[in-house]
C-alpha cells in the first residue's frame, strides 16, 4: 500500500497521508522508547539487586517514563550564556532527525515497511552517520570543555566504528546478493546469516554497540570521566531529544540486527503459524536484552583502546570475513 503511494503522482493527499503515517510511526517509536527505557531500567534493576521503577503506574512502574518525559517538558530550558546559540538549538534536531529517518527502510514484516528502496542497507548506514554531526555540534556549541571532549570522542568513535560496521555487513550483502533489506531477509529462508556469517555477526554486534554509544563504548558521555559528555549543558526537552535519538537508534539498530542476521520476520522451522510480526518482536527483544545485558556487565573501554580495537582488530577481522565469504560463495553457492 505504501509502495503504491510512493509510485503514485504527487499531491497534497499523498503528503497528508505520509505525514499521518510518519506521525503514527513517531508515536510507535515514542511508545517504544518509553517502554525501552522502562525495560532497560527494570532489567538493569533486576540484574543489580534493585527493583527499578515501581511507583508510578503500578507495580511495574508503567508510567514512570511518561512522568519523566513530562518532567523534562516542564523543565526550564537553559542555554549557557557563552554557548553558540543557533548551533546549540540546532544540534539536538540534527541528532534526532536521522535517527527517525533510518526507520523508513526497516522491514518489520514482509508487508509493514515504509520504503522498500533498493539500497536500503546503504541508506541506513549513510543516514545514521549524520547523527554524529549533531553530537559534535552540540558538544562544540555548548562551550564547555567536557562537552567538547565528549563531542570529539563521539566523532572519533563514530568514524572508526562505521567502517567495521559496514565491512561486517558486506559478507551478508555478498550472500544475499542485494542491498535491499527485504531481499536480505528473503535470502535467509535457507538459513539465518547468524549461522552463515558468525564472524560478521560478532563484528557487527560490537560495532553496533559502539555506534549506539552504549556501554562498554559509552565514551562520549562517560559520566565518570566527562560528567555527561557532549550533552552536559543540555537540559529539559533539548536533552530529551538527545535521549530520544539514542533510544530510537537503539530501536533501529536492534531492528537492523534482526533483519540482517536473525532472519527478520521469518519463523523458526515448524513454527510458521506464529505471525511474522511476533517473530520479529521476539528476535528484536532478544537483541535489546543482550544490549542491556552488556551495559550491566562491562566496564567502560578507554578511548585509545577503543580506537586500537576498532582499527587493529575489528577492521581486519571484518575484511578477512569478506574474503572468506567471497571464497565460500564462489565454491559452494555458485
Amino acid at each position: 500500500m505504501i509502495e503504491d503511494l510512493l509510485y503514485s503522482s504527487p499531491g497534497w493527499t499523498n503528503v497528508g497521508i505520509f505525514f499521518l503515517l510518519g506521525a503514527a510511526l513517531l508515536m510507535v517509536v515514542l511508545g517504544f522508547v518509553t517502554y525501552a527505557i522502562l525495560a532497560e531500567r527494570k532489567v538493569m534493576g533486576f540484574m543489580q539487586l534493585r527493583h527499578g521503577p515501581n511507583q508510578v503506574g503500578g507495580r511495574w512502574g508503567l508510567l514512570q517514563t511518561v512522568a519523566d518525559v513530562l518532567k523534562l517538558l516542564l523543565k526550564e530550558d537553559t542555554i549557557p550564556k557563552l554557548a553558540d546559540r543557533p548551533l546549540f538549538i540546532l544540534a539536538p534536531i540534527i541528532a534526532f532527525a536521522p535517527a527517525f529517518m533510518v526507520l523508513a527502510t526497516i522491514p518489520f514484516t514482509d508487508r509493514f515497511q515504509f520504503a522498500d528502496i533498493g539500497v536500503g542497507l546503504l541508506y541506513y548506514i549513510a543516514i545514521s552517520g549524520l547523527t554524529t554531526i549533531g553530537i559534535v555540534t552540540g558538544g562544540w556549541a555548548s562551550n564547555n570543555k567536557y562537552a567538547l571532549l565528549g563531542g570529539m570522542r563521539a566523532a572519533a568513535q563514530m568514524v572508526s566504528y562505521e567502517i567495521p560496521l559496514v565491512m561486517s555487513v558486506v559478507g551478508v550483502i555478498l550472500l544475499a546478493g542485494s542491498l535491499n533489506l527485504n531481499e536480505i531477509v528473503e535470502a535467509q529462508r535457507s538459513g539465518w546469516f547468524i549461522i552463515l556469517q558468525p564472524i560478521g555477526f560478532i563484528v557487527f554486534l560490537i560495532a553496533s554497540v559502539a555506534e549506539l554509544n552504549r556501554a562498554p563504548f559509552d565514551l562520549p558521555e562517560a559520566e565518570s570521566e566527562l560528567v555527561a559528555g557532549f550533552h552536559v549543558e543540555y537540559s529539559g526537552f533539548r536533552w530529551a531529544f538527545f535521549m530520544l535519538a539514542e533510544y530510537v537508534y537503539f530501536f533501529a539498530m536492534a531492528s537492523l540486527t534482526t533483519v540482517l542476521f536473525l532472519g527478520g520476520w521469518l519463523p523458526l522451522p515448524f513454527l510458521g503459524f506464529i505471525p511474522g510480526a511476533v517473530w520479529f518482536a521476539l528476535k528484536f527483544s532478544l537483541v535489546i536484552f543482550i544490549l542491556i545485558w552488556f551495559r550491566v556487565t562491562f566496564p567502560r573501554i578507554r578511548a585509545d583502546q577503543l580506537m586500537e580495537f576498532g582499527w587493529k582488530v575489528l577492521l581486519p577481522v571484518a575484511l578477512a570475513n569478506i574474503f572468506i565469504t567471497a571464497i565460500v560463495k564462489q565454491l559452494f553457492f555458485m
Binding site: 539487586l49 560528567v227 566496564p299 573501554i301 578507554r302
Partner: protein, 366 residues
C-alpha cells in the same frame, strides 16, 4: 591554518569520580594531561584545632568524620595513642571487639572501594553488589555501636558497648557468606578483559618511589613491600592471629586491585579466628579515671587502616585536653604521588589512577 592550544580543565570539586570535593586542575593537550595540580582543603574542618579544646573522649566522634569509610580504625588510633601514653591495659574482650569491629570495617571499606572503583571505570553493577555485602556489615556495626557510619564506638581503655546477643554468631555467619560472594566478584570483574586493559600498567610506580612518596597500605604493598603494621609492629592483639600480608609487585592499579581483594580475604581470616577465640565474658572497659588525662609528654602511634598507615600524635601537658593533636592521615600522604602519575596520561586514566589510590576526602582534608 590549524591552531592547537592547551586547555585548562577543572576536574572537581564537583565531579562524579573525585570521591568527594577533590579538585584537580589539568592542563590538557587533547585528552593528554600535561600537568596536574591537585587542590584540596574543601573539606578541611580543623579537627586538630577543635580537638585542642576537647577531652579525649570527646575527640573520638570527630575522628569518625575523617576517614568516614573506615571510622573504626580512626576511633582506634586515638584511643590507642592515649592508652599508649597512659600505659593502660585493655581488657581482652574489648580487644577482641575492637579487632572485630576494625576488620569488619576494613572489609566494608574495601568493598566500597571495589564498588566505586568499578563505577569509575564504567561498570555500575559491582557497586550495587558490593553495597549489598557492605550493608550487612554496616548493620552489624550498627547493632554494635548504634551508628552506621560514624560509630563513635571505642573509648580509651576499651569499647563503649558490649556485643549484643547473637552478634558474634552473625559475624560467624557472615564470614563464609562473604567468601562465597568474593568468588562471585572475581568471576564478574577480575578476569574481565576490558577491566584488565583499563588497570594493567596504569599508574605504575616503583618500590623506591612508593617509599619516597610516603605511600602506605595497599599503595605500598602493591610494589612488593611486605609491610603491614598489624604484622610488623603488632598492636592490639593482632599478634594472636594467623594471617598473611598480601603483596603484589606490579606497582600498578591492577596490583593494587589484587592486594585489596586479597586483603578482604585476610580480614575474614582474622575475623574467623577472633570469633573462635572471643572470650565468653569479661570487662569491655578498663578501669579508667572519669576524666582521662594523658601524662605529660608526647607520643606518636601508627596503625594500619584500610587506606594505609594512620597515625596519631599527641603532645600532652598533663591536662584533660591534648596540647596538640595531629593525625597522620594516609589518604593525604598517598595522594601526593598523583601529579607525578598523571603526567602524560589521558583523562580516562586519571579516573583509573585516582580511584586506585583510594582516597577519602574527609581524611585528605582533615
Amino acid at each position: 591554518m590549524i591552531r592547537t592550544e592547551e586547555m585548562l580543565l577543572n576536574v572537581g570539586p564537583q565531579h562524579p569520580s573525585t570521591h568527594g570535593v577533590f579538585r584537580i586542575v589539568l592542563k590538557i593537550d587533547g585528552e593528554i594531561i600535561k600537568e596536574a595540580t591537585p587542590v584540596i582543603g574543601y573539606l578541611h574542618r580543623g579537627t586538630e584545632k577543635i580537638a585542642e579544646d576537647l577531652q579525649y573522649t570527646q575527640i573520638i566522634p570527630y575522628t569518625d568524620r575523617m576517614d568516614y569509610i573506615s571510622a573504626m580504625t580512626n576511633n582506634y588510633v586515638i584511643c590507642h595513642a592515649v592508652e599508649t601514653m597512659m600505659g593502660l591495659e585493655v581488657p581482652e574482650r574489648a580487644e577482641y571487639l575492637r579487632v572485630m569491629a576494625m576488620e569488619l570495617n576494613r572489609v566494608a571499606s574495601h568493598l566500597v572501594w571495589w564498588g566505586t572503583y568499578l563505577l569509575d571505570i564504567g561498570a555500575v553493577s559491582p557497586f550495587l553488589y558490593a553495597f549489598r555485602e557492605r550493608e550487612m556489615i554496616v548493620n552489624m556495626l550498627n547493632e554494635l555501636s548504634g551508628a552506621r557510619l560514624t560509630f563513635n564506638y571505642m573509648r580509651v581503655g576499651g569499647v563503649k558497648w558490649d556485643a549484643p546477643e547473637g552478634w558474634i554468631e552473625k559475624v560467624a555467619e557472615f564470614i563464609p557468606y562473604m567468601r562465597e560472594q568474593l568468588k562471585g566478584y572475581h568471576q564478574l570483574v577480575t578476569g574481565n578483559e576490558i577491566f584488565m586493559n583499563r588497570v594493567k600498567g596504569v599508574g605504575r610506580y616503583t618500590k623506591a618511589e612508593a617509599i619516597n612518596y610516603s605511600l602506605s597500605g595497599p599503595n605500598l604493598r602493591c610494589t612488593g613491600v611486605k609491610w603491614d603494621l598489624r604484622k610488623n609492629e603488632p598492636y592490639s592483639i593482632y599478634d594472636r592471629f594467623d594471617f598473611d600480608v598480601p603483596v603484589s609487585d606490579g606497582g600498578d592499579a591492577w596490583a593494587r586491585y589484587q592486594v585489596r581483594m586479597a586483603e578482604i580475604e585476610e580480614s575474614l581470616k582474622i575475623l574467623e579466628q577472633a570469633v573462635e577465640q572471643f572470650p565468653k565474658e569479661g570487662a569491655i572497659l578498663a578501669k579508667v579515671p572519669k576524666i582521662i588525662k594523658a601524662p605529660k609528654g608526647e607520643a606518636f602511634v601508627r596503625i594500619e587502616s584500610p587506606r594505609g598507615e594512620i597515625g596519631c600524635y599527641i603532645a600532652s601537658d598533663g591536662k584533660k585536653e591534648p596540647y596538640r593533636l595531629k593525625f597522620r592521615r594516609p589518604s593525604f600522604y598517598n595522594l601526593q604521588i598523583l601529579p607525578k602519575l598523571l603526567k602524560g596520561e589521558n583523562i580516562a586514566n586519571l579516573i583509573a589512577i585516582l580511584g586506585a589510590i583510594d582516597i577519602v576526602l574527609g581524611e585528605v582534608d582533615g
